[in-house]
Structures are given as structure tokens and as C-alpha cells.
């Protein structure tokens, strides 16, 4: 379970350009559930993920992951508990290295990196099995450099690498936004399969209302750093969600 207590974050603090993104923000994310966070641009979605992952440091407040206070841990330390897939497919992989080498790196996460040989041939069947689950034919391309993969293949590999060691929390930051609709659907289906198979606690940011309802257990809408909607996905329809979203956008345009 993730608990965010009295979280505050401002940018350009102390200047005339100060922007208060969150002020005493509170949120609880249940364990083994997938929570979608939606909202207009600038509402604080990505900032929230960056605060949870440690990319940004909060001005105030606490972040508790499974009752452990991670607020003062560096981004690298938090990464040992948190998996993240970014919007840019190239952010989760090393393009110069092969699929096998990338997976071997992800496989060593949390075990410490030493002067041992990285690629362990005994682990290859395991990687092949995981790649077969993706159903993209990547299991036949273990020795292909990742830079030669398509965006969808890279993002699927990033997802696999981020979830390989079963993180306590998985953050998906609009991870299908840079993909075409067909590939986006394939990656979303793979994401859903993985999350359900391993019952991973997931926060998933999206601009796609249908995806938010279809692939999550709970939908939260943020606006100006506040939760303005918090409902179980099955109680929501796409039209209802679109309606609220449009109203919020109109309000922003009017002000």
C-alpha cells in the first residue's frame, strides 16, 4: 500500500513564477490494485509520479510504501522497490545493448553489481519464457541490439524489465502515449496481463479515458493538485468521465 501524507511541492519557490503544484496532498493507493490517474495537462499527474519515484524531492510531507517511509530515500534507493515505465520507449532500456544484456541487467536489480560476468546462460530459458509471454517474437531476437526494435517492442521490453523483480509499486507514466493506436492497445493488453498475473500495485497515468476505465480498478481525477474524482472503475462510464473532463477543461479555458 502507498500512503501519501500532507505532500507539498512548489516549483520556482520564492520567485514571482512560483507554482504550487501540491499543498498538503493526501492519497492512499491500495495494495494489489491498479489505480489510474487522469486529469488535464498541468494538474500534477507526472509531478506526483516524480515525487513518488524520487525524481523530484517534496518540499514537505511523507510518502509511505508498505508502511516504510521512503520520503528521504534517493531516486536510486527507491528504484529498488519501485518499477517505472516512462512515456519515451527509450528511457527504460539501453539501446546499444542487446535484449539479452538488457534483461540480464534488470535481472540483477537489487543484488548489487560486481565484477562477475553479467550474462548468465542458465537464466536465458527464463528470459525466453518471459519474452514469449509478450508474444512479439522478441524471444528470437535475444542478441539484437535494442536500438533496432520498434517503439512498441522497446516499450514492452521496458515493461518486462521494470516488472522482472516484482516491485512493490509499479508506475506507468503514459507509457503508451508515444505509440500508434494498434501498438498502444497491444502494450496495454500486455500490461494488464502482467499486472493481473503478478497482482502488482500499480499507478497508471493516462489521457485516454477508455484505457483508464478498462485497465484499472480505480480512477482518480486530479485538477490543480486536488483529487476531484475518486471512483471504482466499474462504477464509471467513458461518457461520464469525458463529461467531467470536458467541464474541467472548459473551466480552465474560461479562467
Amino acid at each position: 500500500m502507498l500512503r501519501i501524507l500532507n505532500l507539498s511541492k512548489s516549483f520556482n519557490k520564492g520567485t514571482e513564477n512560483q507554482v504550487d503544484i501540491f499543498t498538503n496532498f493526501n492519497l492512499t493507493i491500495e495494495k494489489n490494485k491498479c489505480t489510474a490517474i487522469i486529469g488535464p495537462n498541468g494538474c500534477g499527474k507526472s509531478t506526483l509520479l516524480n515525487l513518488i519515484s524520487g525524481t523530484f524531492k517534496a518540499d514537505d510531507g511523507q510518502i509511505l510504501l508498505n508502511d516504510k517511509d521512503i520520503s528521504n530515500l534517493t531516486e536510486e534507493k527507491r528504484a529498488l522497490f519501485i518499477g517505472r515505465v516512462h512515456q519515451d520507449p527509450s528511457m527504460g532500456v539501453s539501446p546499444t545493448l542487446t535484449i539479452l544484456e538488457n534483461m540480464s541487467l534488470a535481472d540483477k536489480k537489487g543484488e548489487g553489481f560486481s565484477l562477475r560476468r553479467l550474462v548468465n546462460k542458465d537464466r536465458i530459458p527464463k528470459y525466453v519464457e518471459l519474452l514469449k509471454d509478450l508474444d512479439l517474437g522478441l524471444e528470437n531476437k535475444l542478441n539484437t541490439q535494442v536500438k533496432y526494435l520498434s517503439g512498441g517492442q522497446r516499450q514492452s521490453l521496458s515493461l518486462l524489465m521494470a516488472t522482472m523483480k516484482f516491485p512493490d509499486l509499479l508506475l506507468l507514466d503514459e507509457h503508451t502515449a508515444a505509440l500508434d493506436p494498434k501498438t498502444s492497445h497491444v502494450v496495454m493488453m500486455k500490461t494488464k496481463e502482467l499486472i493481473e498475473k503478478y497482482k502488482m500495485t500499480t499507478i497508471f497515468i493516462s489521457h485516454n479515458m477508455r484505457d483508464a476505465i478498462q485497465y484499472s480498478d480505480r480512477v482518480i481525477m486530479l485538477d490543480q493538485g486536488q483529487v476531484i474524482l475518486d471512483k471504482a472503475s466499474k462504477e464509471l462510464t467513458e461518457e461520464e468521465l469525458m463529461d467531467i473532463y470536458r467541464r474541467k477543461l472548459d473551466e480552465h479555458l474560461l479562467h
Binding site: 539501453s94 539501446p95 565484477l115
Partner: protein, 302 residues
């Protein structure tokens, strides 16, 4: 024949230098200019140790070890004091200029009266053994967990962080190894030419980059981990070209400009000529990728 032999010998020495610069320039994607100070630093350190009566092998190794501290200084400057890496390298180079003058209290030291590693056997053989040893050790290192994280740090820092690792640690390791190799190269050059001079590091970065770029040009299809071989071959070719130029009557004063023109020519060949004239049918794009199989598979799929 003597010219060819000297060029190959110096090429092997510069091959070690280029392997060091390869780590920063190609793997970490950084322009570490401190090598202009580290190369003579290795030479001056060797001169100091050998003049203290330490045997030449140990003196060379100590020069390599202490030379790696230049990498430590540069890394501290850009990771802890947030100085831009290129400026951090220039600052280290500037500091080393004064340090080099202080080490022996002179700007030029003849070494003819001292033993050298080349007393162990034929100069060429000794250099081949040292260059191969460095190449094999570097190749082995790049296949370790730490080595792969060094490559990943240059490739994508976000990935390294997501693996729970601190990128600065790998930059430090990379820069220390790189500067250690550059200092080793400087120590060997001092023994090869029989003297140490404060100017011996001037424009040495161009020599290293030329070796890397020529190496890239001649064997484009090699994988990243075999780049060490390409770098050594590149350095030897570079020295042979320079040797021939001098043999044809080029004024040694013009050599630095010629060095720069060699680099420009090879970069232009890589960047422009291949695209323009499609030499050897390699016009870039899918035709020119290292591993064409996945591209063909992708083309069939989509």
C-alpha cells in the same frame, strides 16, 4: 622499413591512449579533455619513479595507478561541484600542467640513462604484449556487471537509476580507468622516445579521437565490445599516415594541423561521403546497420 616499425610501435602506444579516450568519448559520451594533462602526467610520474631507483615495470604501473587519480579529480569536479564535464576536464588539464612541472622540478627530463620496459625484449614485442593485455582486460571488464553498467550509464542514465545504481559511481570508474590508461600510454611514450617533455600532451586528444574515428571507419560491422581492437588498428593507421607525411617532406611544425585534417577527413568520410556517394553500397539507414536481421524481420512484419 624503420619508419614503418616506429609508426607501428607508436601506434600501439597511442592505441592504449585511444582505448582510454574510447571509454570517455564513446562509452560515457563525454569529452574529457583532461587527457592532455594526464598523458604527460604519466610520463613525468614514470620519470620520477625511475629516477628514485624503482624498476621500470613497477614505475610504469605506478604511473598508470597515479594517473587514474586525474579521472577522480575530473569526476569530483563535475559530480560534486556541478561543473560542466568539458570544463571539469579543462580545469584538471590546467592543474596537471603545474603538477607536471612540479613533479621533477623541470619541464624536460632525458631518460636515456635509465632502464625501461623495452629492455625486456624487442620494443615491438613488448608493446604488442602490453597493448593486447590492456585490450583483453578491458574487453573482459566490459563484459562484467560493472562494465555493462558503465556502458548503460553512457547510453541511458535513467535505466541505471531504475536499477538502483548511482550513475556517478560508474562515471568515476570510467574516468579513472580512462585516465589510468592515458597515463600508462604517456609512461610508455616517455620510455620509447627517451625523454619527457611538458609539451608532449599538446593536442593528444586529437590523436586519440583520430584513432577512434579511423578505427570506426575501417571496421564498421564490429560490435561495441570489439571496438578495442578497432581503436588499436586505428591508432596504428593514423601513425603510419603521419609517418609517411613526414617522410614525404612535411615540416614537423605542420604536423598538428595535418593531424586535425586527418580527423576532419575521416569524420567527413563517415558523415558526408558515405551518404553522398554511397561508397561500397553503404548509404546509411537499414543497409548500414550492424545487425540487419531484425530490420529485415521488422520490414516483413510491417
Amino acid at each position: 622499413m624503420k619508419l614503418l616499425l616506429t609508426s607501428v610501435e607508436q601506434g600501439l602506444i597511442f592505441g592504449i591512449l585511444a582505448m582510454g579516450v574510447f571509454i570517455t568519448y564513446k562509452i560515457l559520451d563525454m569529452a574529457d579533455l583532461s587527457v592532455e594533462g594526464t598523458f604527460p602526467f604519466g610520463a613525468f610520474l614514470f620519470a620520477k619513479f625511475i629516477s628514485l631507483g624503482i624498476n621500470p615495470i613497477l614505475s610504469t604501473l605506478l604511473a598508470c595507478l597515479f594517473g587514474s587519480l586525474a579521472g577522480l579529480l575530473t569526476t569530483l569536479l563535475f559530480t560534486q561541484l556541478k561543473i560542466r564535464p568539458i570544463l571539469a576536464g579543462i580545469l584538471t588539464m590546467t592543474i596537471l600542467y603545474s603538477v607536471n612541472l612540479k613533479i621533477n622540478g623541470r619541464s624536460n627530463i632525458p631518460l636515456f640513462d635509465y632502464d625501461s620496459v623495452f629492455d625486456l625484449g624487442s620494443t615491438l614485442l613488448v608493446l604488442i604484449i602490453i597493448a593486447l593485455l590492456v585490450k583483453v582486460l578491458l574487453d573482459l571488464f566490459l563484459k562484467t556487471e560493472t562494465g555493462y553498467l558503465l556502458i548503460a550509464t553512457g547510453d541511458n542514465e535513467a535505466l541505471v537509476k531504475s536499477l538502483g545504481e548511482n550513475c556517478n559511481k560508474y562515471k568515476l570508474i570510467g574516468l579513472m580507468i580512462a585516465n589510468g590508461l592515458v597515463a600508462l600510454s604517456g609512461a610508455l611514450m616517455a620510455q620509447h622516445q627517451g625523454f619527457v617533455d611538458i609539451t608532449m600532451g599538446a593536442s593528444i586528444i586529437v590523436v586519440a579521437l583520430a584513432s577512434i574515428i579511423i578505427g570506426d571507419t575501417i571496421k564498421k560491422k564490429s560490435s561495441l565490445l570489439k571496438s578495442t581492437t578497432r581503436v588499436i588498428i586505428g591508432a596504428i593507421i593514423y601513425k603510419i599516415i603521419g609517418g609517411i607525411a613526414i617522410d614525404l617532406g612535411l615540416n614537423p611544425d605542420d604536423l598538428k594541423a595535418v593531424n586535425a585534417f586527418i580527423v576532419i577527413a575521416f569524420i567527413a568520410y563517415n558523415n558526408v561521403a558515405l551518404d553522398l556517394f554511397k561508397f561500397n553500397g553503404k548509404g546509411g539507414g537499414v543497409k548500414n546497420v550492424t545487425n540487419t536481421q531484425p530490420v529485415q524481420e521488422l520490414q516483413q512484419r510491417y
